[in-house]
């Protein structure tokens, strides 16, 4: 694991919502081509921290981020950084499947279109097919690409959202509880998908399910009350937690 590059280097990150101090002094290094899981009880700040990584928190007026977050050694909160460019590099999949109310094709093609990734229609078709294949959705929808994305089942919608996110060729994929609205079978499909995605991307996943973290991730970070309590290899966290709070959480005594 040590030979892998560090994708995100976060140092002394503080997040405030108005007067509430939501993230307290978090240091974390996220590796490339690795699945990193953020676990912790509700309201511990793991989603907030995730949204710092692609500056989605900018859309919340009362939110203030301090500290140093570097993507490939570039400060993403630097004055000159355009959050739109950042978000093209750092894709995001949300908790609730949120396909655009457009056709399946348009859902996937939207990102490549606005970023000018395809030169012509054929190139766009290729990107759409590739992305849908990566999201393990191609075989199910290839005959009805022009039907609305909102007409798919919940699991298919979430995979469509993953296809949409990978279509822009991001370097990092952020997933905010991507399986919490899905049934176990759809969850298994998405987890399998995450495992494949880590060949190409660095994946950061927020999850409530410790089993899921154990299944899909190589590194796990445990957040509690806005603090990063423990960050280590997933195996170590679940078999040999260093902090008593981590132990309590993974054994089900708090949270």
């Amino acid at each position: 694991m040590d030979q892998k590059d560090i994708k995100f280097r976060c140092h002394g990150v503080q997040v405030y919502y108005g007067d509430t101090h939501a993230i307290k002094d978090v240091d974390v290094d996220i590796e490339d081509k690795t699945v990193t899981a953020f676990i912790g009880p509700s309201g511990c700040g793991k989603s907030t921290f995730l949204r710092c990584l692609n500056r989605m928190n900018d859309t919340i007026a009362s939110c203030r981020v301090e500290g140093d977050i570097r993507l490939d050694d570039e400060d993403i909160y630097h004055r000159d950084v355009d959050p739109v460019q950042l978000r093209a590099k750092v894709g995001m999949v949300f908790q609730k499947p949120n396909p655009f109310p457009k056709s399946i094709y348009d859902n996937v093609a939207y990102g490549p279109k606005i970023h000018g990734l395809a030169k012509n229609k054929a190139g766009l078709d290729e990107i759409v097919e590739k992305s849908l294949r990566r999201a393990a959705l191609w075989d199910e929808v290839k005959d009805r690409l022009d039907t609305p994305g909102t007409g798919l089942s919940g699991g298919q919608q979430q995979r469509l959202c993953i296809a949409r996110a990978v279509a822009t060729e991001p370097e990092v994929l952020l997933m905010d509880e991507p399986c919490s609205a899905l049934d176990p079978i759809a969850t298994a499909q998405v987890e399998e998908l995450i495992d494949e995605l880590k060949q190409r991307f660095s994946v950061v996943i927020v999850t409530h399910s410790m089993q899921q973290a154990a299944r899909v991730s190589q590194k796990t970070a445990f957040f509690h009350l806005g603090n990063l309590v423990e960050y280590d290899d997933t195996n170590s966290i679940f078999t040999n937690p260093q902090d008593p709070r981590t132990e309590s959480y993974i054994t089900g005594r708090i949270g």
Binding site: N54, M56, T59, A61, V84, Q85, R87, A88, G91, M92, V93, F94, K96, N98, P99, F100, P101, Y110, G111, I114, H115, P148, T150, C161, R164, A165, A167, T168
Partner: protein, 442 residues
């Protein structure tokens, strides 16, 4: 264990599901009552709607028909020369008409003696109408021409029973004996009722000629005004709402703007009228009575309505759609224009159509900027003059007619309301079709 203890304590009597207890009965009765209230409210609403529709149609329908006298006659070149050589030329033409009418009645087997002056009273200035016709169409001289002349409004009212023979006082407008001629002409089919195209296509007439009054010119005025309102208020309103809803920081200043916009929607329209008079006409020296100015004033009035409804429909778009767009790297503007705005479009169109409908029916501000009914004397020559030439609008025209003394104008006012409602309905149907197209689910 717990079951047993519960049963021994209460010994609740077993009740059938099919027997309703008192609480259920009360609840069901309340529900039935509430349904009945709703149905009663709808019935009352439908009743009043029906009363309105029936009374509008009954009062307005006569405006769409008029009584005409149809006489066929041939004027030879000799007749023309003879007439033109006389001192009272139109009198000579009128004599030709009277002779032709007399011939036509005789052919139908009726002998009636009538005062040639009665023709003037019943049909207006027949002579000058004929003279103008032959001067404009010299080719028609010597050929049979069918003249269709509108009868005076008193004839209309006599024929539909509003005016009785006893109620007529002999005057220069009508003599009791004229009615004998009317009866004869009706019996022989010379005088008949026909569809009043003049009302649809014509312009306003003088107070002494209700038969010639039409609403066409003011329909055109209203049309140009609505164009101005639509072209200005929709983009400005939508742009303002998008800025306020999606881009503006939330602070005291934007709060103040928001409160003021809401209040503007409730400002009486006459205030906008006097504002328009002061700003557009007295300060900016735009032409008076012009649909352009009317449109500008109504735009001011419509903007708050459009802004409020647009903001509401932008708010109703789920935030997850914005997140999704931002998440794939769309800029704020792209997320708004590609995703949020299309979803908000049905609501925006609803607000726009409410605003436009309000503007279409507005009278008071138009009166203040001079778009009163009697300026609608003719059609504009082209698109530019459609905007800047003096014209009226339908509601102002209706108001003008309703205020005139002659009772014939009263039915014109009702007829004008029918045309106004038809215009409004057309506008709404177009909007509904557009809205259907934009409607999508998420």
């Amino acid at each position: 264990m717990t079951n047993a203890s519960l049963n021994t304590g209460g010994e609740a009597p077993k009740r059938s599901l099919r027997a309703q207890d008192a609480l259920t009965k009360r609840r069901n009765a309340a529900e039935r009552r509430f349904k009945a209230y709703g149905m009663a409210a709808i019935a009352v609403g439908l009743f009043f709607l029906a009363v309105l529709a029936v009374s509008i149609v009954r009062s307005g329908a006569p405006a769409f028909t008029r009584t005409v006298v149809e006489v066929e006659l041939t004027v030879s070149p000799a007749d023309i020369d003879a007439a033109e050589s006389q001192l009272f030329k139109t009198k000579a033409y009128q004599d030709l008409f009277v002779a032709a009418l007399d011939r036509q009645l005789t052919n139908n087997g009726v002998e009636v003696a009538f005062d040639p002056k009665a023709i003037e009273r019943l049909l207006g200035k027949v002579g000058s109408t004929m003279r103008e016709f032959y001067q404009a169409n010299p080719a028609k001289v010597g050929k049979p021409v069918k003249f269709e002349l509108a009868a005076a409004s008193r004839v209309d009212r006599y024929l539909n029973g509003e005016l009785t023979r006893d109620a007529i006082q002999d005057s220069r407008f009508m003599m009791k004996t004229d009615l004998d001629l009317v009866d004869v002409m009706v019996d022989t089919g010379v005088m008949k009722s026909s569809f009043n195209w003049t009302f649809i296509t014509g312009a306003d007439s003088g107070v002494d000629n209700p038969g010639g009054a039409g609403i066409g010119a003011s329909v055109v005025g209203s049309f140009f005004m609505m164009l101005v309102v639509l072209v200005l208020s929709l983009p400005i309103g939508v742009a303002a709402s998008i800025y306020l809803e999606e881009f503006a920081p939330q602070n005291r200043f934007t709060d103040l703007i928001e409160v003021n916009i809401s209040n503007l929607a409730a400002v009486p329209s006459i205030v906008f009228g006097i504002l328009g008079l002061a700003v557009f006409i007295q300060f900016m020296h735009l032409p008076q009575s012009a649909p352009l100015v009317g449109g500008l004033v109504l735009t001011l009035m419509t903007l708050p309505t459009i802004i409020i409804s647009t903001r509401a429909s932008l708010k109703a778009v789920p935030p997850s759609i914005r997140d999704a767009a931002l998440g794939v790297g769309a800029s704020k503007m792209q997320s708004v224009f590609h995703h949020v705005l299309p979803l908000a479009m049905p609501g925006i169109l609803t607000g726009t159509i409410i605003g436009l409908a309000q503007a279409l029916g507005e009278t008071a501000p138009l009166l203040l900027i001079g778009m009163v009914g009697f300026v609608a004397r003719g059609y504009p020559d082209g698109v530019v003059s459609g905007f800047v030439d003096p014209n009226s609008a339908m509601p102002a025209q209706i108001y003008t007619w309703a205020a005139r003394a002659d009772a014939s104008f009263y039915e014109k006012a009702w007829g004008g309301i029918i045309v106004l409602l038809a215009f409004l309905l057309t506008m709404n149907i177009i909007a509904i079709i557009l809205r259907r197209r934009f409607e999508r689910r998420w």
